[in-house]
Symmetry: C2
Subunit: 146 residues, 2 copies
């Protein structure tokens, strides 16, 4: 879907080794769209006969997350999933039907955070916002099917 080299570039810039397993994981992620779990990547790898150790996949995801090349999202059902994304502050809109995600800036948020800080006396440090809904494609499909 996207270009695996973007993650690889991020790795390189940050001074990490460009190992074969990391390239493979970056490739698997690039070929996905929407969110995915570590287990999904393990399956993908096995299907394609790319042998990457399970532990390595977890380690790669952890690293990519630290480098802001992917981000973890907590699905409503409690699953820990990941999405590839841009290294700037943003939020995700997640299709609860096909898992596709879109990034949004949700510019209204800083104001909300400020108000909440004022109302509660908390010094707000960070916030997490995830929006769930039906993406345009799925809406179209659904209405076509009746």
């Amino acid at each position: 879907m996207t270009d695996p080299s973007t993650i690889v570039t991020v790795l390189d810039r940050a001074g990490f080794r460009l190992t074969e397993p990391r390239r493979v994981v970056a490739g698997l992620i690039a070929d996905r769209n929407g969110h995915f779990t570590a287990a999904d990547l393990v399956d993908d790898a096995r299907e394609r006969r790319l042998d990457v150790g399970r532990a390595t996949i977890f380690r790669a995801l952890e690293l990519f997350t630290e480098l802001n090349a992917v981000e973890r999202v907590d699905l409503p059902n409690g699953e820990h999933a990941y999405v590839e994304c841009e290294p700037v502050h943003h939020h995700h809109v997640i299709c609860s039907q096909c898992a596709r995600t879109t990034e949004v800036e949700a510019c209204g948020m800083p104001a909300v955070a400020r108000d909440v800080g004022k109302a509660t006396g908390f010094k707000i440090q960070s916030h997490r916002l995830e929006l769930f809904g039906i993406c345009p494609d799925c809406q179209a499909t659904n209405s076509r099917r009746g």
Copy 2:
């Protein structure tokens, strides 16, 4: 901290049995402040020599969550924690130092959700917002300690 009878009342109203283990779990929750995990309750119970099965604690949490007497929050580190709370739509401000939580209405959210829907074409169904920061008490303690 709070009154265990509030959860018990909710249980009763919903037509569930008021069993001893459920009262115990409700009590453990009431005695906590801030968020807690299922494991925390298991430990609490053991310390106080209240014997409640582990499975029962999980089941009680699940039930209380369905009844909106507690709510699950996903901490930034990936842990699944719970907080006792009111059965109306709201969000949580969580102290990253002492785990205390406060509920807020965050009235700005519907507008944000609407904007995001308009910008992305998604039909927004639900959203999750969690704010993390330092509570007034901890701020005071921190500045006192220098």
